[in-house]
Subunit: 179 residues, 2 copies
Amino acid sequence: MEKRNLVFIATSLDGYIADRKGRLDWLTTIPNPEQSDMGYNEFMAQVDALVMGRKTFETVCGFEGDWPYAKPVFIVSRTLDTLAEDYRDKAELVIGSLTEILEQIHNKGYHKLYIDGGVTIQNFLKEDLIDEITITTIPIVLGGGTALFSKLPTELEFTLVSSKVFLNQLVQNHYQRKG
Amino acid sequence: MEKRNLVFIATSLDGYIADRKGRLDWLTTIPNPEQSDMGYNEFMAQVDALVMGRKTFETVCGFEGDWPYAKPVFIVSRTLDTLAEDYRDKAELVIGSLTEILEQIHNKGYHKLYIDGGVTIQNFLKEDLIDEITITTIPIVLGGGTALFSKLPTELEFTLVSSKVFLNQLVQNHYQRKG
């Protein structure tokens, strides 16, 4: 079974995934009368499970409405020992180095993984563990916030797989790690 | 005459315009057998003059071959008093606040300006003085270097004018300041 770690995320023109106050409302300011999901459901259909950081998990837990994921969710954390009881049926804590964590998840039969959350994506990139990145660029310069990318020990070359425009305003580029 | 300040620049996937060592060679690693200029000449044809920072000017001065610009070049600097004699026929130093500098340049009859160089672009953005940005994204994560964007006092909304793919790998998005 081919193992793939995939990122699917939206950023501002200046590369932020949340604004200075941690808000995400700027993601949805472009009118979307036909409720396009911008490829999200198609992306989700191909992944086996999600891997996200503690902070993203807490953000998702704070969303109103039903639990948003139909796939298994694994939480990577350096600070949590256990998940709050309310969430134990929804997510599972995984502990260890990224390689160990991935091995645990692969051993459970999940191979195509949606890697989510700023810090987690950065940590995966630092170890060159991201195979595909889909970035949807929102036409706003936030001027500050939580950056998608961080400093890396080495350059990583990617190949453009596709480039699409949604809502006449959002450019979504799909990249694959080269070689 | 309509005054416009335009940016035309290439960045890595993680938003850098030069790598950690100030190198630009990663800009040209994608094979370009037909020598596409990726819209550069068309862009240049519509501008009246260039405005660039001291550092970009020095980089351009270091390029081999003929002086690359057919249009007037204005250098903004907080450290230079005069330009080296060799360059006085090629560029003109402008001194003052950005508003003062722009007034000087407009008074000479140049209204559509190509704003170039990382620090200069950042300073123009800080004062909301950029009307259009064309960004060509190279499919590489550099992991460090000179960033295109910096912290800004306020968010700036843009409108996507066009999105093109060059060489099957480079995505070029053209944005206009909203409103």
